[in-house]
Symmetry: C2
Subunit: 363 residues, 2 copies
Amino acid sequence: MGLVCSHGKEHGTHAPGALHHLKATPQTVHWGYFSPDLAPALTVKSGDLIMAEAITHHAGDAPELMFDEGVERIFREIDPTTRAPGVHIMTGPIYVEGAEPGDMLEVRYLQMTPRNNYGSNLAANWGHLYQEFGEKERVTIYELDPVANTAHALYAYDFPGKYLVPGTITNCPVCDRQPALPGITIPARPHLGTAGVAPAVNEPVSTIPPGLHGGNIDNWRIGAGATMYYKCQVAGGLFSIGDPHVSQGDGEISGTAIESSLNCLFQIVLRKDFDFPSPLLETPQNWIVHGFGEDLDAAMKNASMDMLHLLHEHQGLSKDDAYSLMSVATDFGVTQVVDGTLGVHARIERRLFPQKGTVTDIS
Amino acid sequence: MGLVCSHGKEHGTHAPGALHHLKATPQTVHWGYFSPDLAPALTVKSGDLIMAEAITHHAGDAPELMFDEGVERIFREIDPTTRAPGVHIMTGPIYVEGAEPGDMLEVRYLQMTPRNNYGSNLAANWGHLYQEFGEKERVTIYELDPVANTAHALYAYDFPGKYLVPGTITNCPVCDRQPALPGITIPARPHLGTAGVAPAVNEPVSTIPPGLHGGNIDNWRIGAGATMYYKCQVAGGLFSIGDPHVSQGDGEISGTAIESSLNCLFQIVLRKDFDFPSPLLETPQNWIVHGFGEDLDAAMKNASMDMLHLLHEHQGLSKDDAYSLMSVATDFGVTQVVDGTLGVHARIERRLFPQKGTVTDIS
C-alpha cells in the first residue's frame, strides 16, 4: 500500500455536493430525545453540505441576551412537559439517502460560529460538586469575542429553586446580578456537546447519556476541523445536532459548559467500507475513542478496549504492540462526570502513523 | 499589587547557589521506600543546583543495553529482599538546610538527559488490561533518539513467570526476541515518575502509592521546564528522585512507562511563604493539581477540591467563580490507573492569569 491508500484517496477527495440550510424551528427540532420515528427535517445525499442551527437549551438563563425571534419561538411553542426524557434541543433529524443500519456516517465539522455572542454556565444540581456547594445552583453568563476566540464572564446569579425544567426562562433582575471572574479571559473552544444518530429503539431515548449512537459525548474537541464517525442504527441514520458549547474543560464538572447557540457547517459522507463499535473522533492532531460507564473506572476500561480495537483491528498493530503503545503514548482524559453519563476518552497522535490518511484507512 | 508581585520577584530571581553532584550508588539510593530515618546522601542550601542520577528499576529487562558499571553495582549489591515495600530505586535523600515540617520545597527541574539510550515498557501484572491479556506479562524494549527526542521499539518478549521481584534481571535470549511496533516513532517526554519528600511516619513507606509527600505521581509533565512544590513533613525535607521515564501516556495503562535511567539537573528553593495541601505542578503552560484515591471517582473528587483550593485560596477567586472556571476551562486527565494508586490531575492554563508570576504568587 502506498503513502495514501485507496480509502483515503477516495473519500479524501469527496467533493461537496449540494448545500442545504436547516433552520431550527419548533418543527425541525426535537427536545430531550432521539427517536427513530421522527420524520426527517432534511434529506441529503452523501457528500452534501449542511448549514444547520444548533440552539442551546440554556438560552433562558439570560433571555435578554441569548433569545432572538427564532430561539424564542422554540422555547414558547414546545410544551415543557414534552421536553423529555433528556434536556437538549436537537436540530434534525437528517436522513442520509442510502444509509443502512451498520453503515457509518462520517461527519466533517467545518465551521461553528456563534449565533449570538453570549453563553451560560450553570453550576447544576447534577454537577460534580453540588453537595460541596451546599446544593446551590448558580448561573454565570459569559460574553464571547468571536474575533479573538475568547470569552469572559459578564455577571452571575444564584438560581432560584432547583433547575429541573429544560429551557427554564429566568429573568434575573438586574439588581441581583453580581460581577464574576473579573480580569479573566478564557480561550473559546466552540463545539457540539451532543450529536448523533437515532438509536434503533421503539421509544424516545434520552439525550443525556452518550452511547454507541453518539449523543451527549461532551468532548470539546468535536469542533470545526474535527471529523466524527457515527454508526447508523436505522435507515437514513437520522442524524441530529444540539447542545452547542463555546467552551468546556475536560470533565465539565459543574454539569454544563458555556452553553451558547452555534451555526454549524458540516459535510456528511456515507461510509460503507469500515466499521467501529463506538463514536470515533479525528482531529487534525489526534485519533480519539470514547468510553462510557456507570463510573469513571468502567468508562476507563471501555475507552481502553476501544483504543485497543482501533490500534489492532484498524491500524494493524498486534494486540501486544498496541497495549505497549497505549501505555507510553496514549493520553486518557476525563470527558464528563455527570451521574449516569461518565465518560473517558483516549487520544493518540496521528503523527505516529505517517503512512495513514484518515483513521479509517485500514492497514 | 503590580504586574509582578513581591513573592514572584523574590524567588523568580533566586540565583543558583552551589552545584552538587549526586551519583547513584548502593550507598546513595534507597530501593522501594521513603523513610524519615535515612541519613542524607547530600546536604544543600536553598537555591543550590543538584545534578543527580536517577536509575530505573527496570534496567534488568534488557541488561545488555541498560546496564553499566554503576547500575550493575546497585542491582548486584542491594539485597532483593530489602527492596520493599515498593519497587522504585530512589536517589537521595537530600537534606535542605533550614527546611522545617510545613515548609514547601520548590523543585525546578531544569534538564533530564538519558543515561543511556534504551528503555523498557512492561505490560505488568498490575496493568489495567492484565486480565484481558490472559495474565500475560510482556516486555517491549525501546531505543531513544536523544537528538530528535523520539523513541522506537527495538524488540519485545513475553516475560517468563510473574514479575514480582523489583529489579529482576532477565537475560532474554536473542532467539526469543520478536520485532515490535515496526515503523512507529513516538515522541519522548522525559520525566520523573516518582519524586518527593520523606513522610513523617516511623517506618519505611512504599514508593508505590502517591500522596501528599509526592511519590509515584506518574505525570509525564514533571519534566525539564516544570516546577514541583512538595510540602516538607520532616526537618530537611529529605527529598529523593527515582522512577525515571522517557515517555508515558496519561493513564500509564500497562502499569509502566518507557522506564529509562535519566540524569537530572534541578534547583531546590526553600519556600516558607506559602502552603498547598498536595503536590503542585507548574509547567510553562499550566498549573496542575493532583488527586489520588481508591478509584478514579475518588481521585477525581480530590483533584476537583484541590483545584478549587488553588483558585480560591491562592488565586483569589470566589468559590463560585472558581467552580465555573473549573467547568469551562480546566481539563481533567487520568494520570494512572494502577490498583491502589489511581490518580487524576487537573490542568488550568497560566495565560488566564496574566498578572501572576508563578502559581505561588498569592493574590
